[in-house]
Symmetry: C2
Subunit: 220 residues, 2 copies
DNA sequence: TCAAAAGTGTTGTTTATACACCCATGT
DNA sequence: ACATGGGTGTATAAACAACACTTTTGA
């Protein structure tokens, strides 16, 4: 944390946010189609320059709001990459975050040139720069967080069924889990709590609605 | 990862390295006594500017060599802090790493003004900036890594006794562990492997020497 | 012979896994 | 009445936690 002489070769500092959601049975990520060179027309993780009077967390939260309209969701610093932005920028440093959102509460911005869209992680378009690496990394982090925290709260509305919750876990972990063991565990660990409400979703028995015991990130 | 227009207000980018070791029964960290204002005379985590043609990992490894002479040890990116360097620097971004070294292989540099020294984590001097926060964070990360990886290899020489290994764990976790369960687990998980050698350390029964099955970071 | 660290097994508890059938609804 | 997702319990295996005495050495 030593020197403080300001030289003219300071690298550009960017902040980007990997925004995840789960729709039906698919883990999705929000991407932006680049409207300018380099890599024009390819898709990239949303991000931008760090503002002059912003903390990193503020910049990430701002980016998230700009792209989804959503605030107060799970948002965590992921990793800082030193070499993946366009080399033309001359040594950029990019601080990556990842966010978990309930897609129902998202409204995508309407713009020309820079369109945004959700993509399933197992059906990605051509990605700019080294964004595939970043997504891999983010997915790994998300998967392990699911195992020992309650961050799933940030992917679901206030009330949900245990089947919906299970689908969220299965989509992220990329594997099926046993229904009885899953429900037992969620309840035994106190992650969720039943409510009095029920919901009828199809020609089926009504499902009990649950809610998260805490909507703060918590280690189990 | 958007814009690329280079403005004159690019923040300073620094890289610092929290260097841990274990000596006897104490977890220690390497600190540098600041020779200049601000916070002159206080102690700080070693770090410096990111070089123009360096990756972040390279900068961290370079810092580590400069301060300890050691290379090829466990070195991992920790977190990126946006607000903790001196405010005079006008918006610095500091990418933190942490390293685990065997203190026997370290040679501290001889300098005037900027002296370096090891400090036990439970007996720290007055720290510059928000370095207490950073050490807290690094300690938390280290503790959890000890539980599910073999990174302890980087704190010990090639051959060591199980008691020495146990003391490393206890110093870091800050609690005593059961000797029989500890040995059982280390062997059952294949983290260490016995050798033919023994060592006599005092007026005691000779201890068998062990070695790590792998000296690459491995998740158990 | 004594002090001090090295070394070694068993038992109970908790946690995770495997697995199959009945229930309530709308069509 | 039937197709569909909702809902529930038990038995086994694996991981973890608690616990005490014998061995070997140098002084």
């Amino acid at each position: 944390m030593g020197g403080k002489t300001l030289r003219d070769s300071s690298p550009i500092v960017a902040v980007f946010v990997v925004i995840f959601t789960v729709v039906d049975d698919d883990l999705m990520v929000l991407l932006i189609r680049r409207g300018v060179e380099p890599n024009k027309g390819w898709w990239a993780i949303p991000g931008g320059r760090l503002g002059p009077d912003e903390t990193l967390d503020e910049a990430a939260a701002r980016k998230l709001v700009e792209e989804t309209g959503v605030r107060d969701v799970y948002l965590e610093q992921l990793y800082t990459f030193g070499e993946l932005d366009d080399p033309a920028a001359g040594g950029a440093v990019a601080i990556g975050y990842f966010a978990l959102v309930d897609h129902n509460s998202v409204s995508l911005p309407q713009r020309d040139e820079w369109t945004t869209a959700w993509f399933a992680l197992n059906d990605l378009p051509r990605l700019a720069f080294k964004n595939d690496t970043v997504l891999e990394y983010a997915l790994g982090r998300l998967r392990s967080k699911m195992e020992y925290t309650n961050v799933a709260y940030s992917l679901l509305p206030q009330y949900f069924t245990l089947s919906q919750l299970q689908r969220v876990y299965e989509s992220i972990l990329g594997k099926r889990v046993d229904k009885r063991n899953f429900r037992k565990r969620m309840l035994a660990l106190g992650i969720v709590r039943p409510t009095e409400r029920t919901i009828v979703l199809g020609a089926h028995r009504p499902a009990k609605l649950y809610t998260f015991s805490s909507r703060q990130p918590t280690v189990i």
